[in-house]
Amino acid sequence: MSKLRITAWINGEPAEFLGGTRQSLLDALRDELHLTGSKEGCGTGDCGACSIVVDGRLVCACLMLAPEAQGRRIETIEGMAVDGAMHPLQRQFLEHAALQCGFCTPGLLVAAKALLDRNPDPTESEVRYWLAGNLCRCTGYDKVVRAVMDAAAELRGTEVAR
């Protein structure tokens, strides 16, 4: 398979890698750039475990080809904590025990951050429908939704009532 030289911004840093013309962006992130935080649960865009943000838009990395990353700004789970400090969503997931196995967690966090970047004060229904593309088989979503709501409140500067 022929490979293309691809340059992109990944988590705010310039990145350069060789991507196959039939290789998914997910495989390129994981195998070429060793960013294995994005997970493959299905490879068909149904589970959301590979959720990333490309130029501000939430996508499944398994549904993009590696060469499509050329020139784009890509955010993955690896970029969510800044200088070693966790994002409020990450902290709230831990406080709420909103993960069990943790496999879907990176995708859920990336998707939840994309929601809060657009809508800082979502209702429970809005959280549930936004996250409907992210399968979690362990938690039943209860604690996930609570963690996202509390992270939203924290980001708005509201006291979180627990």
Binding site: Q100, G140, Y141
Partner: protein, 760 residues
């Protein structure tokens, strides 16, 4: 000391600290099965059968082997020839020969997706091209999918050497019925004669998959010196080691298995599919090989749990006393024997004190993927039948459904239908908690209904190992032997901290590989917090005893005069005015008092306590489409004592979500050729966030398990047992028609609504 005062004295157990492995899992750093990469690693791929049932005439791998970049090709011929040695796999037993033949087919393929050969190559593209160049000649045979069709006398025979066990006299001809199981007591005929109302119903459930989001994945690396390594996501790395050794004819000592983080299992990762194949490939070429399943491979060739047909007959008096129950249960095992029919038969009526019982179960092979354990294996379908039947009995008797269950509930000291006598159980308290909850009396709107159902699961103990090491600066590390599938590092660290008298922040928890800790059984059977927790507490207690000994040495007093309080040794000799020595102080001088402070305990834990759940489900049905929406859900469970309540709640909420999916949507669908039609998450519809409400949990802690240092019972499996019937009972109460076949998908519910309105 009574249980309440114990709970009051606990400082760490019962709190909700952040889990030790949490940060890695929210930052993407945690390494799961497919995240392992080694220099020179090859990509493996598996060639699978397109036929549901066929004899393998010939496998020609020459063209694949000739392809540049292909480093190894294996078939079943590369595996050891095995006899009839059996192996425990969760709640069912299988033979190693079958596990081996399921990894790579020998002589026959038994389902679409059955592995026949595997390759390792320098790139995924080359590996896929190599698969296309492997030529398999098949003699296609007639196949059978459905469980009752497979039991028919003229059904296509999967195994010419399969004779039903448990029959008297033994059958003289082979069949697809692998085993007959019987559980019973009393005199059912007499019981039914006493009954004033008898219901006889037939219940059907579809095969469903565990649905873990992480596909099976492993890396194997064969060493030139005969020492091999495997990194994999599994529910038991010791079990992986044992199965790989047998299948490949190796010694246990020559395989070291390191557990990766596991992205869900629910029982489905208690066996092997890839690891022996990856190691066989690596043995052939001397390079590390990674094998990862795609999602459609996961659906076609791993898991699921049995489809079932259950015929139930239950009799009761007018005042709601159940006088007799008869069940005939047929569980589909997939390609090889070993459904959870035994556990299903034993669990089916375990909630109730019924004198006259007859349960007959059949384990039936058919041309589908071999079933694997799935959370309380065998019990949810049995509970669907029994709890649906009881709900209908309650309706016909004009009784409150909880009162009917209270009238028949098992209590401590009673003998269970399956044999043993119950000790600390709180089924009655769990029923009463739901009955007293505001949810039970909340008003319902139009097209809305409420269902209640109960569930039971045994929980197990078994073999576990754990070590506790004290650090020179006063912290401690807990090393345990079970893959952490849902937060068990947290409960291990908490139980050690409680015993040592340390704050939870001073205790770290890890899971060690097979060469670094003593043997442990699988992470399964809801056993880890109970059994491995017991090993952790005993190891911590040994450390405490050693610390007391060292303090006594320092103070020159007998050890009996040293007490361990709040993380420090205190001298109880009034003649000595010694100030307490903290764990940190004792650790700092350990070189002078006997060397490093450390203890390891291996044990076989006995006395696991069974658990009971009672669930309440409100749902609304759209009369136009038949679609059910769950509006409110409350689950109460007898948990003994919750070590980390958040993760106990999480287990319950997750079990409920899986059970709701089983009830409403999930099903394996086959076409006429025996091909699975929905091997993907788009068409195999598991619940998503917008399908569910919040799931309220009530933890009943009135009956702590006295055999566990802190009273823990297993909690992970019980919560998937009641939801099938809780949901189905709610649906039936909305539409006024009793539905007895799962899933209750919109078309099926709509048809029932239309049929009943036509009749009306």
């Amino acid at each position: 000391m009574n249980d309440t005062s114990v709970a009051r004295l606990l400082k760490v157990v019962g709190q909700r600290p952040v889990r030790p492995d949490g940060a890695d899992k929210v930052t993407g750093r945690a390494n799961f099965g497919a995240d392992q990469a080694l220099p020179g690693m090859l990509t493996g791929r598996i060639k699978r059968s397109p036929h549901a049932h066929a004899r393998i005439v010939d496998i020609d791998t020459a063209a694949a082997r000739a392809l540049p970049g292909v480093k190894a090709v294996v078939t079943a011929a590369d595996f050891a020839q095995l006899g009839s040695e059996s192996i425990e796999q969760g709640e069912s037993a299988g033979t190693l020969a079958h596990v081996s033949a399921n990894c790579l087919a020998r002589n026959k393929v038994l389902y679409v997706g059955h592995a026949v050969a595997a390759v390792a190559a320098t790139s995924p593209e080359i590996a896929e091209e190599a698969l296309r160049r492997i030529e398999v000649r098949y003699e296609v045979l007639p196949h059978v999918i459905d469980v009752e069709a497979a039991m028919a006398p003229d059904a296509p025979l999967l195994h010419e050497d399969l004779f039903t066990t448990g029959m008297t006299p033994s059958p003289t001809a082979p069949s697809n019925v692998a085993a007959k199981t019987v559980v019973g007591r009393g005199d059912p005929a007499k019981g039914f004669a006493e009954a004033e109302l008898v219901l006889e119903r037939r219940y059907v459930t579809a095969a469903v998959h565990q649905g873990y989001i992480e596909p099976h994945a492993c890396v194997a690396s064969a060493g030139a010196d005969g020492q091999h390594q495997i990194w994999c996501s599994s529910q038991g790395h010791f079990a992986v080691r044992a199965m790989c050794a047998k299948i490949l004819g190796l010694r246990l000592q020559d395989i070291r298995v390191t557990p990766a983080e596991i992205g869900g299992g629910f029982g489905g990762k208690t066996t092997v599919y890839l690891e022996p194949v990856a190691l066989a490939l690596s043995l052939k070429c001397g390079r590390p090989v990674r094998l990862v399943m795609s999602r459609d491979e996961v659906f076609q060739a791993s898991g699921p749990t049995s489809a079932s047909v259950i015929e139930a007959r239950i009799g009761a008096t007018r005042d709601g006393r159940i006088t007799a129950a008869e069940l005939t249960m047929k569980y589909q095992a997939g390609a090889y024997p070993g459904s959870a029919i035994g556990a299903g038969c034993m669990a089916a009526l375990a909630c109730y004190a019924i004198e006259n019982v007859s349960i007959v179960g059949y384990d039936v092979v058919s041309n589908r993927a071999k079933v694997a354990a799935y959370r309380a294996p065998g019990a949810p379908m049995a509970a669907f039948a029994v709890e649906s039947c009881l709900d209908e009995l309650a309706q016909q008797l004009g009784m409150d459904p909880i009162d009917l269950r209270l009238a028949n509930a098992v209590k401590p000291g009673m003998k269970a239908v399956y044999g043993p006598t119950f000790r600390e159980i709180a089924f009655v308290e769990t029923l009463e908690a739901i009955k007293a909850h505001p949810h039970y009396r909340a008003p319902l709107g139009p097209h809305q209904g409420r269902g209640v159902a109960c569930g039971f699961w045994f929980n197990i103990g078994g073999e576990s190992s754990a070590a506790v090491h004290v650090d020179a600066d006063g912290g401690a590390t807990v090393v345990s032997s079970n893959p952490d599938i849902g937060g068990s590092r947290a409960s291990m660290a908490m139980m050690a901290a409680e015993t040592l008298g340390l704050p939870i922040e001073r205790v770290r928890a890890t899971v060690a590989d097979t060469a670094s800790i003593g043997y442990s059984d699988l992470t399964g059977g809801s056993r880890v917090t109970f059994a491995t927790g017991m090993a952790v507490v005993q190891a911590a207690q040994k450390v405490v005893d050693d610390l007391r000994r060292r303090a006594a040495l320092t103070w020159d007093c007998p050890i009996e005069q040293v007490e361990w309080r709040d993380g420090a040794a205190a001298c109880t000799d009034p003649a000595k005015e010694e100030r307490p020595l903290t764990l940190a102080e004792l650790a700092a001088r350990s070189a002078r008092t006997g060397g490093p402070i450390s203890a390891e305990v291996s044990l076989n834990a006995q006395g696991a306590g069974p658990g009971f759940g009672v669930h309440l489900c409100d749902l609304e049905i759209d009369p136009e489409t038949g679609r059910s929406t769950v509006l409110r859900y409350t689950a109460a469970q007898d948990v003994g004592r919750a070590i980390h309540p958040s993760y106990v709640e999480g287990q319950i909420q997750g079990g409920v979500a899986q059970g709701v999916g089983w009830a409403l949507n999930e099903a394996y669908l086959y076409d006429a050729s025996g091909t699975l039609e929905n091997p993907g998450f788009l068409d195999y519809r598991m619940p998503v966030a917008s399908d569910l409400p919040m799931i309220e949990t009530i933890l009943i802690e009135t009956a702590p398990n006295k055999r566990h240092p802190f009273g823990a019972k297993g909690v992970g499996e019980v919560p998937i047992v009641p939801p099938l019937a809780a949901v189905a009972n709610a649906v039936s109460r909305v539409i006024g028609v009793r539905l007895t076949e799962l899933p209750l998908s919109p078309p099926r519910v709509l048809e029932a609504i239309d049929t009943s309105s036509t009749k009306a």
